[in-house]
């Protein structure tokens, strides 16, 4: 059987898988009955509905003809990797990672790291441009978020501050 819509096929399969897993998870809690709903009752219904809808979407993707086969297309690994990576690195540097003995490095270091890594997600990376941008963002964020809004951040590395 040929897949008529690649996008819907994968969406449907993913939905179904999630629904089944969610419903299965619900059964590990007390389900109860309608009059006495346990913590698993509503999640079970929702999970089963998602699985059914997912199956319907998958079926439709196999049966209903589309003009171009609705391909998923190329996955943009580079931006995906660097944007998510920049975000993760920001979290690690800001809060530290006790698991590997990394102390919190604070907001300023985290901003520089995030800007450089995120900059790599674009087509043309320029060290100088990223350095300028990072400096601007670091000063701006410090003034706006720390001085003006008084949000609680570790600003400098713990071993300095």
């Amino acid at each position: 059987m040929r897949i008529k819509s690649q996008r819907d096929f994968f969406a449907g399969v993913l939905f179904s898988a999630f629904g089944v897993a969610f419903a299965w998870g619900a059964t590990t809690y007390t389900v109860g009955s309608g009059a006495r709903m346990g913590p698993g009752y509503f999640p079970l219904i929702v999970g089963v509905l998602i699985a059914i809808m997912g199956a319907a979407i998958t079926l439709k993707a196999l049966v209903v003809e589309t003009a171009d086969g609705e391909p998923v297309g190329r996955i943009a690994w580079r931006p995906l990797f660097f944007i998510i990576g920049a975000n993760l690195l920001f979290g690690v540097l800001l809060g530290g990672l006790p698991g590997i003995g990394l102390p919190p490095m604070g907001l300023i270091v985290a901003i520089y790291a995030l800007t450089f890594v995120a900059g790599l997600a674009g087509d043309r990376f320029s060290f100088k441009a990223s350095a300028v941008l990072a400096t601007l963002l670091a000063i701006g964020s410090y003034v706006a978020f720390v001085l003006a809004l008084k949000l609680q951040f570790p600003v400098w590395p713990t071993f300095i501050a």
Binding site: Y29, I84, F90, L94, L133, L137
Partner: protein, 503 residues
Amino acid sequence: MDLISNLATGFGVAFTLQNLAYAFVGCLLGTLIGVLPGIGPVATIAMLLPATYALPPVSALIMLAGIYYGAQYGGSTTAILVNLPGESSSVVTVIDGYQMARRGRAGPALAAAGLGSFFAGCVGTIILAAFAPPLTELAFKFGPAEYFSLMVLGLIGAVVLASGSLLKAITMILLGLALGLVGTDVNSGVARYSFDIPELTDGIGFIAIAMGVFGYGEIIGNLSTPEESREVFTSKIKGLWPTKDDFKRMTPAVLRGTALGSALGILPGGGALLASFASYTMEKRSRLKPGEVPFGQGNIRGVAGPESANNAGAQTSFIPLLTLGIPPNPVMALMVGAMTIHNIQPGPQVMTANPELFWGLIASMWIGNLMLIVLNLPMIGIWIKLLSIPYKWLFPAIVLFCAIGVYSENNNTFDVWMVAIFGVVGYVFLKLKCEPAPLLLGFILGPMMEENLRRALLLSRGDWSVLVTRPISLGLIIAAALLLVIVLLPSVKAKREEAFVEE
């Protein structure tokens, strides 16, 4: 006249120097932060919420309302100038607003959004003042079954006007409901789907989902298109004020948008969102006048209509919050949080127990709208300067603001990990053409639906027919079913698809 005396009470409260100052500060801060790309009203309010803790309740709510309008206004500015919807209800503003900006007509687009919003805000305030009291009466007749049916209707309504496949939109709602259930079950105290992670027992952060799916997912999507085909700004901007022709075209769109927005805003499940989509669809279906720019290429009606509709909807969406105590959208959910911090339980009793708070808030909404137009139209030049920033400078900044925003939510890096996960999820949704807005609404309403269903079934001893034997509940269910049937009719279906075709 009750209405006039009530409004007079309200203006008496709002027109004190202190409260005017808070409204002003709220509007200014809201716009300043809301205009930053990637930070919509939800994130803005969440970030500024701590600033209001020390204020008296009325002033705090007035300032929050100011932040809300400011953020929303700032959000549409970002939508128009940077092609990034700061919030779900400016998704449609992006379509024509950004095209206008690209053609050097950012000024008129912003003015249309501002003036339309102001007019809609005035009408919305009057409607809110007029309809809140009778609806409060009705609210006392609402049981859990009615609340549940109301939420079903709201969610179905949101699906009907979402773009793309109906099946996928419904599934996205269900997915949102599922994600909303993560965390401690209020009734049994069981931590559901928390995988023994302590942070997950409080549930998944709304901000993490919103920023991951809308912020990161979009950025990755934008970066994956090559530089040439990516939208490039034109630097030339001719005139800030709409022309006479613009006014002639936008006025009916504003009126239609306001009417739609006021009516739909009352629905739970994202009235403002629904309203802006409905308004855009309506404008797009109406015949083009000779010489008018087609939709999707910078038609001013495509900005004025949805912007008025979402502001009117934003105004009237206070009605379900203030009368029924259920937040119709994410922003209102935050308002509930703010009210509880100040020891006010949202619900029908607010109006009788705290009349000066109730009417003062309503009056301050109008004042906030007025301040915004005074504050923003002369400052449009500053917003337009944002146009000259190229995307390669902008996207690292957006990533940073998203990361800072989620972190400051709980001062916890756990939310930073969550936003990374939802960034990947958001990109998957984008690739598979799954509209993420319904997911957010499901996420907000999930726990409330469960709770009301639980209560309804408890009262009926497990009999599901309670949803259709109580007249109000039956009416709401029938309305939801009708909506579904109508969109599935072949003729409507074709038109709906046509309305959302991207150009």
